[in-house]
Structure formats: C-alpha cells, structure tokens
C-alpha cells in the first residue's frame, strides 16, 4: 500500500497554516468529478480489505471492517452516487471519517491532495440537478482550472437516505 502511505503522508504534511476563514479540504475523485471534504472530519486513509458484508443492507453499504477493535461500516460512494466504476483492487482507497461521534469509511476512486481554500475561492452552490442533493453541498471551490464540489459530509452521513443511522432515534 505504498500509494496509501504516500497519501497519508501528504495528508499530514498539509500545506501552509490556514489563514482566517480559510479551510483545508481533502479532495477525492468520484468518476470524473472532484470532491472536497473538511480535513478535520477525516480520521485516516486506508486500503480496502477484509470486509464483512451486512445482510440486507443497501447495495452501497459494503459491510463492516475491524479498525483496531472498532467495527466501522464502509460505504461505497461510487455506488451511492453512481459515479465511476465500483471495482476493488489494491489501489482502492477508503477514507475513514469521524462525524457526529461515529466512525465510518467511504470508498472513493482516489484521493488527490489536501487543499487550502480561501474564502474567495469558494462559490455558492447554483441550483442544478446533481446526484448529490444540493442540500449537502457547501459550495464549489475553484483551484486554478479545477472545480471542487465541497460536501457537508456530516450532514450527508446523518441524512436518512444514507441509512447509516436508525431514523427512529431522531
């Protein structure tokens, strides 16, 4: 998993100290699109292996893994948002998130880098039909020629359509 380690290393040696209002984002690819999530929500990045299926779970919930004694559910974002092809090899990457006191992993096509976005680099989300409900999109970021879709991962993971949390709790 040399690639994975390299990514983890970049994630750690993240660029300059963020100035005011600036946010650091971990960017990843899903199909042809680039997404960004707040770096503070990311616990670690690891490879995809030894997953235990969960019965009758939606297709995008691949199952659970053992993360040092914690049972962590794994969601394949490629299946959930029908982007890219969902195949698994030694380069498949799982981002372990820590949102709302819960630990969960998401499978993505690949992790690119960690970017610091200034406030002026972030644009509000226009109304459009996206696979991800615009409710869960914080905004769009521009870095040179690239466009990042910034996801409010906490809101997304807690939403009912992810089926991660028993809705009757709420």
């Amino acid at each position: 998993m040399s690639q994975e380690q390299a990514i983890a290393a970049t994630a750690k040696s993240s660029g300059p100290i963020p100035s005011h209002m600036a946010n650091e984002f971990l960017t990843f690819r899903l199909g042809g699109e680039e997404y960004g999530i707040e770096i503070l929500k990311v616990q670690e990045i690891r490879g995809y292996d030894s997953i235990t299926q969960i019965a009758n779970a939606p297709e995008f919930i691949k199952g659970v893994v053992n993360l040092r004694g914690i049972i962590v559910p794994i969601i394949d974002m490629r299946i959930k948002f029908r982007l890219g092809t969902a195949d698994y090899d030694q380069f498949t990457v799982v981002i372990i998130l820590n949102v709302a006191g819960r630990v969960m992993g998401i499978v993505v096509d690949g992790v690119s880098d960690v970017l610091t976005l200034e406030a002026e680099q972030m644009r509000p989300t226009p109304e459009f039909g996206s696979v991800i409900d615009t409710e869960y999109i914080m905004g769009l970021g521009t870095v040179e020629e690239r466009m990042l879709i910034l996801i409010d991962i906490e809101k997304l993971m807690n939403s009912g359509d992810m089926g991660l949390i028993d809705q009757n709790i709420n």
Binding site: T52, Q53, I54, A55, N66, G69
Partner: protein, 726 residues
C-alpha cells in the same frame, strides 16, 4: 460549605445509601413480638451515622429526620416503648424520606418536604406516647466523664451542658500540614457555632489554640473539627474558669452525680469502645456494641456525649467511609479495612475492553503460530500455550470484578412483599435461595425492575387471600421463593409461588376476546407465553398493584434485551414458577462460528441444542417451498441462513451442509449453514455504535484473524421461522 468537604460528598452519599439499605434489612427482620436488641441497635447506629454525616455536610433536612428516628429508636432500645408494627411502618417511611432527601442532595430529583413533615410528625407522635419517663432521664443533664485513653496521646475531657447555658471550650490541635485555606474554612465553620477567639500565636502553626463559647455540645465541635484536624492531636477541654459556676465542678464530683443518671462507663465498657480506634466518628459512644452497654443518659439525644479519642495516627484520617464502617461493626469483630476498594465503573469497563482486545490479539498470534512447525518451533508453541492460559485467567479475573452477588437485588424484595402483602391483606413469606450467586453488575441493575414486576405479579395474582388458601387446604401464609443459581454458562433466577397457578381456560378465553390466534390444542407452554402479550391481563379487576396488562410484555422485552429468556411452569391450584435465564455477562459470549458463502457468523452457544448432517430423506417440503427436517420425531422448520442474508452459499442442498438445531423461547428451528468452523469466546461489539440495528444480527465481534463476524440474533431468527411456519 467548605470546598474541602465536597470531596467527601460522594462517599457520604454512598455510605448513607448503604446504611439505609442495612437499616431496612434490619427493620424487616425485626420481629414485633420479640424485637432483637441487636437489630434495634444496628438500626440506631445506621440512623446515627447518617445523622452525623448529614450534620457535617449541612444537610439539615436529613439531620432532622434522622434525629426523629433516633429519638424513637432510643426509647425502643431502652425498652421504654414496646415495638409495634406501626412504628416499623413509620421507620420504613422515614427511611424512604431520607432516601429521597439523599437523592435531592445528589441533584437527582427533589424530596417532598410535606411527606417528610408528615413522617416526622408521626415519629414524634409515636415517641411522645411515653414522653413522661423519657423526660426523667434527660433532665439530670449535668453529668460528665473524664476519660483517659490508655495511650494518653489524646485526651478529651467530656462535659455536659445545660441546654440553655453557654460554655467555653479550649480547643487545641496541631495544624501541621494544613493549608491556610483549610484553616480559614475551619475557623469559619467554628464561628458559626458560637463566639470564637483565636489564641494561636501567628508563627506557631504546630499548635493552634482556640477558645470557643457556644451553646452547642462538644459533639458538634468535634464533628466540625474531626474531618480536618488530626484527632490524635485534637484536645477539647471545657474551660472551667468559665463564669458558669454550675459547670465548675471537678470531674470526680461530676462522676458522683452521673451515677444517678446511670451514665457511668465502667472499665470494661470503656476498653470495649477503645478497642476499635475512635468508635465511629459517629460521635456516639452510646451506639452500643452489646446490649448491656446501653447507657441511658448518654444516648438520649440532647444529653452529653462522651468522646474517646484515638491513639493511632493511621486511623486519624477521618473519612466518612471509615467512620460508618466502624459504626456498623461497633465493637464486634473488627472488619479489615482493606477488604474492598471503590473503583469507578469506567475504569473497570476500560480494563474489560482492553482484556477483550488482548484475547483477540492472543488468538491472532495463536493462529499465526499454528502455521509453524511444532518440532522446530517448540519453544514458541509452549510459549503460546502459556500465553493462552494466562490471558484466559486474566480475562476471568477481570470479568469477575464486575460480578456481584444477586443479594443486591434480592434484598429489596422483603420490603416490596411486606408492603404489598399488607395492602392486599394477604399473608406472604418471602424466601430467598442462592443470594450469593454472582452475576454481572450491568445485569444486576437491569434485572431489578423485571424481577419486581414478577414478584408483584406473584403476590397479586398468584397468592390467594388466607381464607381461600385455608379452604383449599393450603397453609394460610403463602410463600414466594426467589432462587438464583448457575447452570452451564448462564444464571437462572426463579420466582415461584405456591399460589393459585395459571388458569389455562381463562387465559385462552381472554386471548380469544383479544383476537389472538389461539386454539384448544396449544401446549401449556404456549398458553402460558400468552401472558407476555402486550395488554394481556387475566385479573378480574384492575388495582393499583397490577391488572392493567402492562408489565409482563415489558418484562419479556427487558429479559430478551439482556440476551436472556423466560419460561413459565404452572399447575392450576398448586403454584407458578417463572424462570429467567440470563447469560453470565453481557460482554463475552460463547459462540459457535458457522460459515455460509465465505462469510462467518457466530451463533450464541446457549441457543444451540445440537448440530447434525441430515440425510436427504429427512428433509421434507411443506406446500412446495417451506422445508422441514425430521429430527427424532419432531418436524423443525429449516432456516437457510443464505436466504435470510442474501448470500451465495457453497452448498445449496440441505443434506450436503450442516443443520444447527436452535431453541429459543420454547420454539425450535434448524439453521442451515455450509459448515461449522469452531467454538469461540467472543467479545461482543455493538454494531449500532457506528452503524444501525440489523435485522437478524445482535452484534458483531472480531475474529482471531482480525475480520469482523456478525453474531446472529438467534431468538429473532427462530421467531421469524415460526411466523413463516404458521
């Protein structure tokens, strides 16, 4: 209150709860016709210790209530009043009030002052009934003692005061090791008692000299000081140069006066109080160890107190903890101080978690090591074996920390039964068997409510009224038995009564009324289980005790939530026995791992009856698709695990795979799996902490190879198969 005392609050709360529980036990044991003096004394000591603590922390409501308790108890103790059952009722009520007050101070809820006042009034009324003789004893309150402790390290001159007169005390103690803040707090507290003069020379911290003029008794001063000051250095002397001439009597003279008041402590008694150092900072030497030691004058409440000081520095750390344990044991065989420690439950849980991880790591290592040649790596293998043994032992002993005897739960039922029986005009005896059976603390807490329901039910529905019982040729007094014992990997708790038993016909007709699917051919076992249906009650009338049909379904749900099951045996007219079977602990489970389509599942071992490989002829289909298997003359539904979990199995024909026969809630079913893998002890992990509940799965665990395996919710699986079969 000074911040220094706050750290003792928690100890006080816990101690008081324990003391209250002791008190209740003694009260319930008390035979009204021939009260045991020891029990009365024990109750008195408990009340007194609580009073002492409450006074120190300034919980005046508790002090008042315990004071009333003490007054009445004292009279009972001295035989001035006859013990009557209404008094015991009053005591129990007072105990409840104190409990509520305690909860109030803890910040949990609010005690109702009107109830407290009512109980106080009742206690007062009961105690006033023989006010006259009591007065005589409290009046000659001018006796005193000079008490010389053998070691002479500490010396306390004991004196009495007239209720109206003020007295000046010289107080001396060593302030070594005390912070300025502590001293200041102490002085502030003393000032509340009366007029305080500080005679300490500014630069001599070693010896603080104070002069206090107060109408409070020496006991109060002692209580204020004892938690802060090393009692070995504390010296409280009545300043006899005080203007109050009545007090300026030499100790010898005082002794002669006190003879009238029967308050001489003779040598023997004193050496008794001397033996356990500082007999309870309960400050009540009158709390007697032996019946003959009751000293009338000193134990009546407003009268003088004797103090004995303590000659051992080690014992001087006057924590409440110690004081009440002393008060409890009195002069009887001194209990070793170090017999138990209080540890927060989080620490224990953390330890259990870590040991769980250790067991997993050990299993992982063992699996790796097993691939090495046992001849070449002989040492590695013997080392692995030793590691396994040690981890097992460690795990067992860590798990045993959480174990508590079930008497913690059982002890509350005598009260429940007593109250309820008198309310229902029934005569009931409660027997408990196997109180020392240990189970997980978590289970102890959870089992209490369901068990209360069952006991109440037994009493209300089970036991008949005395007339009915005699007519049926049974003894007028009914018996409810609580029994606990270990069986295999589980603990069984039984609630049995010799009452009327369940009425099959009545249950069936009630069930039909409610539109439940019943028929006359149902087995007794099935019929009895109907009483666990929500809203089901066979009581003819609804009382405030039971009969609303709420409860049994909750009981069942709670027991199932704990991974347990509940069974009923009953014979009409003879009695009912309800047994609850629980796993010993919540955290670890004995399981059989089974493989289906490359996935591993854990089946809890306590549900498994047997596993077998059926022949093709044993498998029958019912109406084309449902399959049953014939096992020893019984037809059991086949649950194909791969169908439930949508897996692609390695074998699809039942006779090529393995059937695991499960039993849950009186139903049996055969689970069809590819293969049996092995038996494991697994640490239960919650799926819900990061995910959500999954149908058919009760949890997850981590296997030796680091993979996650799901633990099957066997009861739910069996129940689904039953529903499909119907």
């Amino acid at each position: 209150m000074s911040t220094d005392l706050e750290q003792f609050y928690e100890i006080f709360f816990e101690e008081s709860s324990e003391l209250l529980a002791d008190m209740e036990t003694c009260l319930l044991r008390l035979d009204v016709n021939s009260p045991d003096l020891e029990d009365l004394n024990a109750i008195f000591r408990a009340a007194h210790s609580i009073k002492g603590g409450a006074g120190t922390f300034g919980f005046t409501d508790m002090t008042e209530m315990t004071h009333m308790l003490e007054s009445l108890l004292d009279k009972l103790r001295k035989g001035e009043l006859e013990v009557r059952s209404e008094m015991i009722d009053a005591f129990l009520k007072a105990g409840d009030v104190i409990k509520a007050q305690l909860a109030g101070h803890r910040g949990e809820g609010q005690a109702d002052p009107t109830v407290a006042a009512a109980v106080c009034e009742e206690l007062k009324r009961l105690s006033d009934e023989t006010q006259a003789p009591a007065k005589e004893l409290t009046n000659p309150a001018t006796n005193a003692e000079t008490v010389q402790v053998e070691a002479e390290v500490a010396e306390v001159e004991v004196s009495t005061i007239d209720d109206s007169s003020k007295l000046t005390y010289s107080i001396e103690f060593s302030g070594t090791g005390m912070s300025d803040a502590t001293l200041e707090n102490l002085f502030a507290n003393l000032k509340q008692l009366g007029n305080l003069e500080n005679l300490t020379s500014a630069n001599v911290i070693d010896l603080c000299k104070l002069k206090l003029t107060t109408d409070k008794s020496e006991e109060d001063i002692w209580e204020t000081l004892a938690f802060v000051v090393d009692p070995a250095t504390l010296k409280i002397v009545v300043d006899t140069r005080n203007k109050n001439e009545a007090m300026a009597i030499e100790p010898e003279e005082k002794n002669s006066i006190s003879t009238d008041a029967k308050s001489i402590i003779d040598e023997d008694e004193f050496s008794m109080t001397d033996m356990p150092p500082a007999p309870g900072y309960g400050f009540f030497p009158g709390a007697p160890a032996a019946p003959q030691d009751i000293d009338d004058a000193e134990s009546s409440l407003n009268s003088p107190q004797q103090q004995s000081a303590n000659n051992s520095k080690n014992e001087a750390n006057a924590t409440l903890n110690k004081s009440s344990s002393k008060a409890n044991t009195g002069a009887a065989a001194p209990v070793s101080e170090a017999s138990s420690i209080r540890v927060s439950i989080e620490k224990v849980d953390q330890m259990i978690n870590l040991v769980g991880e250790l067991v997993i790591t050990q299993a992982m290592l063992a699996q790796t090591a097993s691939q090495f040649d046992p001849v070449v790596f002989e040492k590695l293998h013997s080392g692995m074996n030793q590691l396994e043994r040690n981890t097992r032992d460690l795990q067992e002993s860590v798990m045993s920390i959480r174990m508590m005897p079930i008497s913690f739960v059982f002890s509350r039922y005598p009260r429940v039964v007593r109250d309820l029986a008198s309310k229902l005009n029934k005569r009931v005896e409660l027997k408990t068997v196997g109180e020392n059976t240990e189970l997980d603390k978590g289970l102890i807490e959870k089992i209490a409510d369901p068990l209360t329901h069952l006991v109440r039910n037994s009493l209300d529905h089970g036991i008949e009224v005395p007339e009915k019982r005699t007519a049926a040729g049974k003894p007028a007094q009914g018996t409810i038995t609580l029994r606990a014992f270990h069986q295999g990997g589980s603990i069984v708790i039984e609630v049995s009564d010799d009452g009327a038993g369940l009425n099959r016909g009545k249950i069936l007709s009630k069930a039909r009324e409610r539109g439940l699917p019943v028929h006359d051919g149902m087995t007794d076992q099935e019929v009895w289980l109907l009483i666990f249906e929500a809203g089901f009650s066979t009581a003819d009338t609804v009382t405030d005790v039971s009969g609303r049909g709420v409860g049994m379904d909750v009981v069942k749900r709670n027991i199932q939530g704990m991974g347990g099951r509940i069974d009923i045996e009953s014979a009409f007219g003879v009695g009912t026995r309800i047994s609850i079977r629980l796993p010993l602990t919540l955290a670890i489970l004995d399981g059989l791992s089974v493989a289906v389509g490359g996935q591993m599942f854990i089946v809890p071992l306590n549900y498994i009856i047997e596993s077998l490989q059926p022949t093709a002829a044993d498998i029958k289909t019912v109406s084309g698709h449902g399959r049953v298997v014939q096992v020893r003359g019984e037809y059991l539904p086949v649950i194909a695990l791969h169908e439930i979990f949508n897996l692609r199995p390695n074998v699809t024909e039942v006779h090529e795979g393995i059937l695991v026969i499960l039993e849950a809630e009186g139903h049996k079913a055969a689970l069809f799996v590819d293969d049996l893998v092995g038996q494991h002890q697994v640490v239960i992990k919650s799926l819900e902490s990061n995910y959500r509940r999954v149908q058919g799965v009760s949890g997850a665990t981590i296997m030796g190879d680091g993979k996650v395996a799901l633990i099957l919710d066997t009861a739910a699986l069996v129940m689904t198969s039953q529903q499909e079969a119907v």
